[in-house]
């Protein structure tokens, strides 16, 4: 997609604008984070219409609860992406949704996104595949379970039949790997 004129604010300015319900806050929030959030939501719900609905719900929720965000507890994006993940995972776990889409394997989703958006192919996604391939399978599966499927680490330990400590260390190693990659 051609870069349009997108609004961008510093995190402090954005938080302030959101808390004051300024129009510019809404626009900047959307322009700065919609693509990242949509990518995460899409990988969770795996359906364009649902992903769009969830994204809208996420923005509405952020808009109405911006006052409860406190920057001493972490970065704005961490707060936002967790709202998005929770809403998306709730959606996937809801009864309606389960009936609509019988289990589609998470592993297929990266490829599915590529296919789905073939008209506006993103070379960056190749990067994701490479990045994900850099993770060892056991690190990837733990990250996927927790990040995209919404398992708690306790549930992931049950699912993978591993002790809690191992799950925590592997999750940490997976994220260390990401940190290395991005530096």
């Amino acid at each position: 997609m051609a870069k349009k004129h997108k609004l961008s604010l510093s995190e402090e300015e954005l938080v302030l604008a959101l808390q004051r319900h300024d129009k510019i806050g809404a626009e900047a929030l959307y322009d700065m984070y919609s693509a990242s959030l949509y990518g995460v939501i899409f990988r969770i719900v795996n359906d364009t219409a649902t992903a769009e609905d969830v994204l809208q719900e996420v923005f509405v929720k952020i808009w109405h609860s911006a006052a409860s965000y406190n920057n001493t507890k972490g970065r704005l994006f961490t707060w936002i992406v967790n709202i998005a993940r929770n809403l998306a995972i709730d959606k996937v776990r809801s009864k309606d949704y389960k009936n609509q889409f019988k289990n589609q394997e998470l592993e297929n989703n990266v490829g599915y996104i590529d296919k789905h958006n073939s008209t506006e192919y993103k070379p960056e996604l190749l990067g994701v595949k490479e990045l994900v391939d850099k993770l060892r399978p056991e690190q990837k599966s733990i990250l996927d379970l927790i990040y995209f499927k919404g398992y708690t680490h306790t549930e992931a330990a049950d699912e993978l039949g591993m002790p809690l400590g191992t799950i925590k260390t592997r999750l940490r190693m997976a994220i260390q790997q990401l940190r290395k990659h991005f530096n």
């Binding site: 997609m1 319900h21 129009k23 809404a26 626009e27 959307y30 322009d31 919609s34 693509a35 990242s36 959030l37 949509y38 990518g39 995460v40 899409f42 990988r43 364009t48 992903a51 769009e52 994204l55 809208q56 923005f59 509405v60 808009w63 001493t72 507890k73 972490g74 970065r75 994006f77 961490t78 992406v81 967790n82 993940r85 929770n86 990266v110 996104i113 958006n117 506006e120 993103k122 960056e124 996604l125 990067g127 994701v128 990045l131 927790i146 990040y147 708690t152 680490h153 799950i167 925590k168 260390t169 999750l171 940490r172 994220i175 990401l178 940190r179 991005f182």
Partner: protein, 277 residues
């Protein structure tokens, strides 16, 4: 310092960033982060890594979505602003009017809501009544159909019975009671030409067979008993002529009382009626 290292290595900070912990645990992590800058710094690193991870797989949503989302946020925003300006700028009287307007609309909606609720209740009741009537009609229909079937069967059966009397090849044989059961009688209609045997249940006078027993009709042909089938004299079919198994030649007819389903050979001491030709 060693402790902090171990705390960081434990993976608990990653869980914090992913939101995978209870509120208490979160408070503990936050307290630790406040005390130790190293933990704070580690948290930031993890957050940035996860932010870049999300960013790396970002997918641009369709361009119409921006307007849809922003409108849903800013429509509410518009309302808030109007409220604020109303409070600040509009003189008292005007404000009263505004509130009244709001009040009337809200009363209108209240009535509308109440009316729709009432309507809903009435429709539900009406639906229930109609449903019950439908059920009744269906039941009636079913019983009418059953009646009709019964009559059709009866008519065709009576026709058949009548044919027995029209047909000159039929002989009517009176089976008389044995010494044990002198009052018993039974009429058997037999056409050797058509090999048809019928018993007339309406005029039959037979001793009750007892529980688990049935009447069995026999023909004696060439000195041997031949089974012609079993019958009951229950109220259900006691008015009918019953068609039995066919036989072309017979020297005698007899009825014995046998266990349900009949026997292969007649139990002669249970013979109730008999007629020789």
């Amino acid at each position: 310092m060693e402790e902090i290292r171990a705390y960081i290595e434990s993976g608990v900070l990653e869980l914090y960033v992913l939101g995978d912990m209870s509120t208490e645990e979160k408070l503990q992590v936050e307290a630790m982060a406040q005390k130790h800058p190293a933990i704070q710094a580690e948290l930031r690193e993890i957050e940035i890594a996860m932010e870049m991870y999300a960013d790396a797989q970002s997918v641009e949503p369709s361009s119409q979505l921006r307007d849809r989302v922003l409108n849903s946020l800013l429509t509410n925003l518009g309302d808030d602003r109007n409220l604020r300006t109303v409070k600040r700028n509009i003189p008292d009287e005007a404000r009263v009017v505004a509130i009244q307007q709001r009040a009337t609309t809200s009363i209108f909606y209240k009535y509308a809501f109440a009316a729709s609720l009432l309507l809903l209740c009435i429709s539900a009741v009406a639906l229930g009544i109609v449903y019950n009537r439908l059920q009744d009609s269906q039941q009636q229909l079913v019983s009418l159909r059953l009646n009709e079937q019964k009559f059709t069967r009866q008519v065709s059966f009576m026709n058949e019975e009548l044919n027995v009397f029209r047909d000159p090849s039929f002989r009517f044989i009176q089976l008389k009671g044995t010494p044990k059961t002198p009052a018993s009688t039974l009429t058997v209609a037999w056409s050797s030409k058509r090999s048809k045997v019928m018993v007339d249940l309406s005029s039959a006078k037979l001793p009750a067979p007892g529980k688990g027993k049935q009447y069995q009709l026999w023909a004696i042909a060439n000195g041997k008993p031949v089974d012609l089938g079993v019958f009951d004299k229950t109220t259900a079919d006691s008015t009918d002529m019953k068609l039995m198994k066919s036989i072309a030649s017979a020297q005698a007819f007899a009825v014995t009382i046998e266990p349900l389903g009949g026997s292969v050979n007649p139990t002669t001491d249970q013979m109730v009626v008999l007629a020789s030709l």
